[in-house]
Symmetry: D5
Subunit: 115 residues, 10 copies
Amino acid sequence: MNKIDILETFENQYPERNYKIIHTAPEFTSVCPKTGQPDFATIILEYIPDKLCIELKSLKLYYNSFRNDGIFYENVTNKILEDLVTVCKPRFMKIVANFNVRGGISSEIIAEYKK
Amino acid sequence: MNKIDILETFENQYPERNYKIIHTAPEFTSVCPKTGQPDFATIILEYIPDKLCIELKSLKLYYNSFRNDGIFYENVTNKILEDLVTVCKPRFMKIVANFNVRGGISSEIIAEYKK
Amino acid sequence: MNKIDILETFENQYPERNYKIIHTAPEFTSVCPKTGQPDFATIILEYIPDKLCIELKSLKLYYNSFRNDGIFYENVTNKILEDLVTVCKPRFMKIVANFNVRGGISSEIIAEYKK
Amino acid sequence: MNKIDILETFENQYPERNYKIIHTAPEFTSVCPKTGQPDFATIILEYIPDKLCIELKSLKLYYNSFRNDGIFYENVTNKILEDLVTVCKPRFMKIVANFNVRGGISSEIIAEYKK
Amino acid sequence: MNKIDILETFENQYPERNYKIIHTAPEFTSVCPKTGQPDFATIILEYIPDKLCIELKSLKLYYNSFRNDGIFYENVTNKILEDLVTVCKPRFMKIVANFNVRGGISSEIIAEYKK
Amino acid sequence: MNKIDILETFENQYPERNYKIIHTAPEFTSVCPKTGQPDFATIILEYIPDKLCIELKSLKLYYNSFRNDGIFYENVTNKILEDLVTVCKPRFMKIVANFNVRGGISSEIIAEYKK
Amino acid sequence: MNKIDILETFENQYPERNYKIIHTAPEFTSVCPKTGQPDFATIILEYIPDKLCIELKSLKLYYNSFRNDGIFYENVTNKILEDLVTVCKPRFMKIVANFNVRGGISSEIIAEYKK
Amino acid sequence: MNKIDILETFENQYPERNYKIIHTAPEFTSVCPKTGQPDFATIILEYIPDKLCIELKSLKLYYNSFRNDGIFYENVTNKILEDLVTVCKPRFMKIVANFNVRGGISSEIIAEYKK
Amino acid sequence: MNKIDILETFENQYPERNYKIIHTAPEFTSVCPKTGQPDFATIILEYIPDKLCIELKSLKLYYNSFRNDGIFYENVTNKILEDLVTVCKPRFMKIVANFNVRGGISSEIIAEYKK
Amino acid sequence: MNKIDILETFENQYPERNYKIIHTAPEFTSVCPKTGQPDFATIILEYIPDKLCIELKSLKLYYNSFRNDGIFYENVTNKILEDLVTVCKPRFMKIVANFNVRGGISSEIIAEYKK
C-alpha cells in the first residue's frame, strides 16, 4: 500500500475562518539509512485547514508506517510535509521534526508550505 | 436549556481602554463522538472587552455543560468561540484548546475573532 | 487616608534615556466582593519613567492597602494602572495581574497606558 | 452493571517474583456530592501482583465509570482500593489520589492494603 | 467567635484502615506582630484520621481567620496543629508551614503529633 | 539468532568492591500484542556486577531487537531482567520500565533480582 | 563587636514538643582567603529548639557580617554551626552550605550537632 | 582608583560583522543606600562590538567593585551602561539587572544604548 | 590536516524550498589561550541550505578537532561560522555558542551570515 | 608526572566532627578507548574527612588530567575513588559519575569506600 493512502481527511466545518490546528507526536521512529540503527523524533504538525482536516488516527498510522524505513532527517521532514499538503490542501502548513541526540548532537528540521 | 443561555456578562467599567482578559481553564472535558471515551483539555480564553465582560462563574458552568457531549476537537473550539462572541461582543477574542495525548499525539486548536 | 496618597516618587536620574523598570509582586491579596473570600494575585508593574520613579517601599504599602478591599479582578487592575499613572506620569506603563485558580479557572488581566 | 464487574484480570506470568506495577491515570473525574461540581484527580495505583494482574483497558473503563458519580475524596480513594483488591487479590496495593485545587486547597489521599 | 469553632468534621467511613489525608493550602496569610506587614505561607496538613475527618471548606475558613492576626511563624504552626488535633483527634498529624522570603531568608516550620 | 546471544560482557576490573552501574535507555520500543500498535518506554537497568559487566553497545542492540516484537509490559520487563541475569550473573539487578501514556494511563513496572 | 554577639534569641513557646525550624538564606557571601575574590552560597539552617529560638533578623545580620571576611568553605560552615549552637543550645542542628561554581566545580558542606 | 579604570578591552577580530556578545553575571551585589543592607542581582550585558570587546576578567572585577557601594537599582543599571559604553564604544549595548526580592517585590531594570 | 577538510556535505534534496536545519551540540570543548584551562560550550548551528547540507558525523568530528586548541570565545564562534559558510554555501546561517560559567560569569556569542 | 601527584590536601580544622563535603564537577571529559571519541560526565565526590581535606583547585587539575586519556566508564570511576582515598584517607567516600548519552543510553557509576 502506498504510504500516502493511509492518510484520511474529513470536511472542515469552519472554512470561513483561518484557524490553526497543531498535532504533536513525540513517538516518531524511523531507521538511519547509513547505520541501520533506529532514530527517534517528535513531529509537530501545524496547519490552517482549507476544505479538509487531517483525521487524527490515520495520521498516527501514517507516522507509524515509517517505523522500519531507512530515511535521512532532512528527507523525512520534507516528505511528510509534501504528503500532508497533497492530501489535505491546507492554506498553510509547517512541520517541525526534533530528532534525539546522535553522536552528542540533537537536530531539528523545520519546513513550511504556503498556498 | 440552551448552552449559550448559561453564559452571563457584566458591564465593562473601563470601555475607553483596550485591555486584555485571559481565563485559563485546565479542567475541560467532553466525549469523543467516535469512541465514546472522554477527552480532556485546557481551554485558554483571551479577549479585549467592548461593553461587556464574561462573568467567571457562568463561564465555568458553560464549560461544564460539555461534560457529556460528543464533539470533535476542531468543532468544540470553534463553537466556544462563536458562543462567547455572540454573548459578549468583544473587540477581539482568541480560544486556545490544548487536548491531552490520544494515540500518542496531543492536539492544540487555535481560533480567533476580530471585530 | 486616600489610597493614592500612600504612593511616593523620587526624581529620575536618567530622564534623557527611555529605560524600563519592572516590579513583580507575588503577594497581592484582596477580597472577592461577591463571596467575601480572599483573592490572591501576582502584580507585574512595567514602566518607562519620565521625570519620576515610584519608590519601592511605598509601592508595597499601596499594594497592601487592598488587603481587605472587596474589588473585582478587572477593576483592581485598571485602578492600579490609573493610580500609578496619576502619581508618576510615566512615558509608558503596563500592569499584568495573574490571579490564582478560582472554580478551576485562573485569570490574567493586562492593561496599558501610553503617553 | 455493577462497577466492579468492569474490571478484568489476566494471569501473572511471573508469580515467583515480587515485582511492582504502577499505573498513573491523570484524567480521573467525579462529581462533588455537596456542590454538584466536577472534581478532577490523578489516581496512582501501585501493586505487587500475586496470581492476577489488572488489565489496563478495563482499569480505564472502571475509572471512567465514576465520571458522573457524586462521591467524596476520602471515599472514592478507599472504594477504588477495595474494588481492586477484591478483583486481583494482590500481595500489596496502594492508591494515591491527587485532587485539583478547590477553594485554594489541593488534597491527596493515600490508602494501602497488605495481604 | 472562637477560632476553633470554625472547624467542622465528618465521620471517617474507613476507620479500620490507617490511611493518610494531605491538604495543601498555598494561600495562607497572617501579619507579622513586629512590623505589622503581611506574611505569606503554604500550609501542608497531613494526618491519619481516627473517627473524624476535617471538613475541607471549614478548614479554608479557619485558615482565612488568621488573615489579620499578628502572630509569629513558630507560634502559628504549633497553634494550627493544636487546634486541629483538638477538633479531629487523629492518630497522627503533621503541619508543614513554608513562609515566603523575608529579609532574604525563607522559613519552614514542621510540627508533629502522635497519639 | 537467539535474542540473548546479542548480549556481550567484559570482565569486571573491581570485583572486590560492591559498586553500582545504571544504564538509562529512553528509546525502547516494542509492539502491543493486542492492538499491533507500537509501545514506547524508558528502560533503567541498575546492577552490582560480580565477575562480569554488560557491554554497552550490545545492550543497545539487545534492546533494539524488541522493536517489532509483540509483548506485554509486565512480560518485557521480567524477560529483560532474566536475560541480563543469565548473561552477567550480577550480585544485584533491578529493571525499571516506564511506558508512555496509553488510553490516558502511563505505566511503570519494577522487577528485582538478588543473588 | 564579636560576631556571635549579633545573634539574638527568643523563648520557645512550645518546648514540650520536638518540632523543626528551617531557615534558608540564598544570599550569603564571603571572600576567598586565597584569591580575595567573593564567594556566594545558600545557607540552610535546620534545628529543633530547646528553650530558645533564633531571632530571624539577627540571623540575617549575623550572615551579613561575613561579607568581607576571608574564610574557607569548610571553616565557614563549621563556624556558623558552632556559633548558633552556643547561642541557642538546640536539641539538634544542621547547617548545609551550597557554594556556587568555582573553576567549574560547585561545593556543598554539611555539618550536624546533636545534644 | 576610578571604577571605570578597572575595565579592559581587546581588539575585535571580526569588525566587519554585526555579531552579539552576552555576558550573564548572577553574583552581583551592592548595598542599599537607605537601609545599609546588601542587595543582590543578576546583571546581563548584551552588546554588538565595534572595534573593541570587553575583557571578561576585568568585567568581573568591575562588577566586584560595587560590593560595598550604596547605590539604587535604577542608578547602578544606568551607571554600568554608561561606563561600559564609554570604555568599549559598541554599536549597541543593553543592560538587564534582575534584583532579588525585597519586601516581597523583585525588580528588573533594562537600559539600552544605540550608536 | 586542515580543520575545514574534516567537514563533509551532501546534496540538498529539496533546494526549491527554504527550510531550516538546526544542530545542537552540548559537548563542545576547547582551551582558554590565557589560562590553559578547558572551556565548555553548547554550539547551536542553524541554517537554510542552498545546494548542500552538512553531514552530521563530519560536523561532530569538526567540533572535536577544537578539543586541544587555545582560542577565545569570540573567535571560535566566528571561525566556526566562516568554515561552515565556506563549505556548504548556505542561504542563511547562524551560530550561537553558550559558554559555561567562568569567574561567576557565563557567556553567549551569536553570529550570523546572510547570502 | 603521576596523576595522583596532582592532588593536594590541607589539614581538616574540625576532625572531632563527622561532617560531609560534596564537590560536583559537571565538566569532566575523557576519551572512549574503543572509538577514540570524547566522553563527558558529571563527577560528584562526597566524603567525610578524617585528618585531611582535598584542595579544590588541585581536584580540578586532577580531573582535567583525564582529558585525553582513553578509559572505560567503570574504570575511571573506580580509579578516581582509589586515588582520592589514597591521598586524603577519609572516613567515608563516594564517587557518582553521570555519563552523557551514547547510542541512546546514559550511564551512571556509583562506588563507595568506608574506613
